[in-house]
Amino acid sequence: MYILGISCYYHDASAALLKDGRIVAAAEEERFTRKKHDNSFPINAIKYCLESQNITIKDVAHIGFYEKPFVKFERVLSQHLEMFPLSLKTFLSSTPSWINEKLRVVGIIKKRLKYKGDVLFIEHHLAHAASAFLVSPFKRATIFTVDGVGEWTTTAYGIGEGTSIHLIKEIKFPNSIGLLYSTITAYLGFTVNNSEYKVMGLSPYGTMDKNKNPYYAKLKKVVDIKEDGSFRFDMSYFIYHYADRMPSKKLCKLLDGPVRKPESEITQRHKDIAAALQLITEEILTKMLNYVYKATKCKNLVMSGGVALNSVYNGKILRNTPFKKIWIQPNASDGGTSIGVCSYIYHALLGHKRNFLMRDAYLGPEFSKQEIKEFLDKNKITYSELRGEKELIKKTVKLIYEGNVVGWFQGRMEWGPRALGARSILADAGNPDMKEILNLKVKHREKFRPFAPVVCVEDALKYFECDKPIPEAADFMLMVYPIRKKYHKIIPAVTHVDGSGRLQTVRRWQNPLYYKIIKEFGKLSGIPILINTSFNIRGEPIVCSPNDAYKCMMGTGIDYLVMDKFLIKREENPQDMWDSEVYAKD
């Protein structure tokens, strides 16, 4: 039985396909349309899912959608009713999209896919909960979902057992940790629903001492936090409930200045505000999780929702709460709900036993050696073919060790926002200049942002102060841990200003080739750690196809591209070179 899950029309549209309980394909629409966070109907992602299994829409038994559109519309109408007449502008701008597509989901699905069956609508946070619990390693777990907003819910907790999910309590819109984080992201001049992780990365540059950071006390005025972590906002500091912007003038006054202009200088004040936001977010989440544990008494925790991508906080959860084990889906944000939808239909509604654990994130498209060769030949690209895995590993490791930046394109594309060794850029973490080289040559990104280390799981504890046992969420680059002090200068390119690293741990069976590259690099350099950063330029989605990868390399300073067994040197293909820097954006 095939079940298709769809999420779209807010941000990060995606599709996932389940076959007899197993997620067999999943991808976000942005990877195909090349529009970052594309929210349009995921026709390309759906097409990929079906083609990957050689089936047509006629073979799909059920389609599920990731929210209840009418309930969400009720919330939007409530905002207009509450905020009349201030909401006039957003009413005029947003209502057509509700009338034309968001309230006509069934019609659109049937028309675009030529689908004749019924569509099931799963509540947004239930879809989040299912995406975290039903594919997790736990038979029983506390479920905690926290994002911007679904229909009404912004935060919820409950318990999952077997195939059933019960969400017990909620916090409702407009009170939302996700929207607080987005508001400050907007205030700091970054794009909402995109750059929240940048604010998280900026926070350690600010004062992380609550008593010394003046903006901690100021931001606390914005939110009333109860002992159980539940909270409400003083909405006079926000305008997102009626406008298409987020911080109010009152918030700007509180934070001693106007909204920062994008690309303008980041001052210590901005850094302190980012730090204060991270501190308050962590304070709320810790209080909440301690309360949630008291309510559920289950030491396994699964999390989902955009806030669950706050890897800095994730790395502190097991130390600050009674939870003993944690699992987070690699695509914890809205994009990941398509997996939740099809899992919920198959297991919870149709009553099938769970038979799938998401142990890796390689659910996207892959390209055969023949397809890649045809692409290279057709485009008259100069390349060499490496003989077998041994030579591939040896050559790649040598190139990285010699200080080259290597584009790494192998196997199925990752599911979720992180590159995990299928569409990655690899470089030497021990090279003190590598952060600058990568920023200058490839990523064109803000200097304050750290690069992530990748390490084989059995080596991680030597270099990082991880939880024991290391949570599987670290395999998806969702946990930040302190790097042991003696290695700060050994791996400077991945050591953040506070001595932490957002590591990816790799297990051999997840990706044997990637694992061997890291191990071999360790043998050569003495440090089995690489930089793993996403294969894209700033403002673009991660590459999906050989064409995307080649184009990205030729537009940046990536020195070599390894696609399957093919090695392409940038300098040998001068006719395709261009400068991506002019296109780099937030």
Binding site: G64, K68, P69, F70, V71, E74, L77, S78, Q79, H80, L81, E82, F84, P85, S87, L88, F91, L92, T95, P96, L103, V105, V106, D118, V119, L120, F121, I122, E123, H125, L126, T153, A156, G158, S164, I165, H166, L167, I168, K169, E170, I171, K172, F173, P174, N175, D224, K226, E227, D228, S230, F231, R232, F233, D234, M235, H241, I345, A348, L349
Partner: protein
């Protein structure tokens, strides 16, 4: 011949833009009427009776802002509905 084709293509595109602009204006006027008569009047009546649509009131007395959700499995027919 090419010039005629070019002209008719340009004319068609211009006419399409004109149509789009007209529809934006008509939609905006209609939505404005709906906003004032529908949303506005309902909002005013609600305000007179003290009804609030969003949870925005801070309370020193309340010990928690958690509210009951109690969301669990329902009959499958419930999921065919968009509400």
């Amino acid at each position: 011949m090419n010039e005629i084709k070019k002209f008719s293509k340009g004319f068609a595109e211009g006419f399409k833009d004109f149509g789009n602009n007209i529809s934006i204006i008509v939609n905006s006027v209609l939505l404005l009427i709906v906003y004032i008569l529908g949303v506005g009047i309902t909002s005013l009546i609600a305000k007179i009776f003290g009804k609030h649509f969003l949870e925005m009131k801070l309370s020193k007395k309340e010990k928690t802002y958690w509210s009951d959700l109690n969301l669990k499995k329902k009959p499958i027919e419930e999921y065919y509905r968009q509400f």
